[in-house]
């Protein structure tokens, strides 16, 4: 098998392993990518991430639901864990991608949407500082200052905790107006994001997945250009 043929075969295995949530298949294919001296970033973007784009389509078509999405995400992570240490700096555009602080705001213990957004950032080569869930608001400010992250991504699954986001945005923007703030979660709308002074938003756990997958899709398009 020629090198290009082998590459295509392994990308297919990674893609299908994610779609079929076959962690072992993904791990084996990822290891072979390394063993054969193929490009790890290519394998992430055109194997794992492209598989996740199909997963998003299956979710849109009501073929897949959240349990399936979570298992696909596990399969993606199984491959990412193997490949990520071998991604070269030049693959990411000559400089490391930015840093992001991510977490679910205080009072909210739902973190499925947050974890999928985190995966999207990791796939894209960002350094992610995950504060977890039920995070006191001031911790976001402290972590952003400590790491000098360019992005802070806040998640709230419940209306009742969404209001905390506004306070965090205010606190962060006061200290560093250049930080981009992303909001996500079921109760968050574009109007809320505007009202709170955020720079972007993802609509719901389900939509967060779709948004994340769309972003992965856009990254892949950009990479092809």
């Amino acid at each position: 098998m020629g090198k290009e043929e082998l590459r295509k075969e392994l990308l297919k295995q990674l893609h299908e392993g994610v779609v079929e949530f076959e962690e072992d298949t993904v791990k084996e294919a990822a290891q072979r990518v390394l063993d054969e001296g193929l490009n790890a970033y290519d394998a992430v973007m055109n194997g794992l991430a492209s598989g996740m784009v199909e997963v998003g389509e299956l979710y849109d078509q009501h073929e897949y639901f959240v349990p399936e999405l979570l298992m696909c995400a596990d399969a993606l992570y199984a491959g990412l864990d193997i490949l990520k240490p071998y991604i070269r700096l030049e693959d990411l555009g000559d400089k490391p991608k930015g840093q992001v602080v991510i977490g679910t705001v205080q009072g909210d213990v739902h973190d499925i949407g947050k974890n999928i957004i985190k995966m999207m950032f990791e796939v894209a080569g960002f350094t992610v500082h995950d504060l977890g869930r039920d995070v006191p608001l001031e911790n976001f400010v402290e972590e952003q200052l400590k790491t000098d992250s360019e992005i802070v991504a806040l998640s709230a699954m419940m209306t009742t905790t969404m209001m905390g986001m506004e306070k965090v945005i205010k606190m962060i923007k006061e200290k560093n107006p250049n930080v981009a703030i992303m909001l996500g979660g079921a109760p968050v709308t574009s109007d809320t994001a505007d009202l709170f002074g955020a720079d972007g938003y993802a609509e719901s756990a389900g939509n967060a997945v779709q948004e994340a997958i769309k972003m992965i899709g856009r990254l892949r398009e950009m990479q092809k250009k």
Binding site: F65, V66, P67, L70, V109, D134, G164, S204
Partner: protein, 342 residues
Amino acid sequence: MSNMTPKMRVKDFFDREKVDQMPCFSGMGTITVQAIEKMKARFAKIHTSAELMAGAAITTAEMFGFDGVVVPYDMCTVPEALGRGASFYEDAEGILYPTVPSKWANLDEVDLPESFDTLFENGRMPVVDDAIGIVKKYNDGELAVGSWVLGPFTMAGQMIELDVLLKGLRKDKERVEAFLSKMTDLIIAVARHYQGLGVDYMNIREMGSGADIISPRMWKTLIKPNLEKVFASLDSPKILHICGSTDLIIEMMNDCGADAVSVDQKNNVVESRKKLGEDAMILGNFDPYGTLVEMDAADVVAVIKQCIDDGVDAVWPGCDIWPDVKKENMEAYTQTVREYGR
């Protein structure tokens, strides 16, 4: 009929008797900051005191003219009584509902008692019991008293990490089924306990099982049988509430044995009515946050009228009312139910 008390109105409504006006009530938390401020209390404190818990419900009902009161307000009372703890955020600004801080990390860690007989002595369970006693006695029992408990699947998600539970539905089906069966016994024990205390209606909130989370096929095989068992064990009136996407499962919801189904704003009630027929009791379905917190009061009237025009039997919010409502929006909501729901 014009002298109906709020309690009679709710009772006759569920009995499908003629009522003087559509009852204005809910099966979920219905308390407001206006009531809490009037009591000179703090939201974080009302979950741990029977007097404050009951007081917040009664004061809200009196301020806005609700026919019923509902206790408790948070989803942690049962997990807390089973040793999972509760975070009350007493030092945090604003309103934060209690959450469960220490869920089981996986199915191996699950440690449930053989019987739930002593459950009601633990944690805040006695506080809830006392609160039910207080609201029942208020004004010679004038108000209808409702209570709720999470459904088996949603309760399971309060006790164990949600991603473990959701993935387990596919990867570890047998053990998840056994866990859900145990949760079903728990829900029956709690709901029957509240019915034994004399609540006037019981709402089972299986809110984490909408079709935006799990497939209708999975709902049929893993959620429905447990809900059927719950409703077969309860007296009427009993309601099944699910929020989120319910259009694909509304017929199965209606087949679980509840007297009524309650849905949120994502449900197409016009279509649900066609599917379920005129005999089905549908409750819903406005967005409580959007309508009562964000919207201008003038626009609230149209939202409530739309619910009635679409075919709900009584207007219920799609979830707990978020306490920080606008007073004038609450007034527009209750007044429209009264006037347009005649």
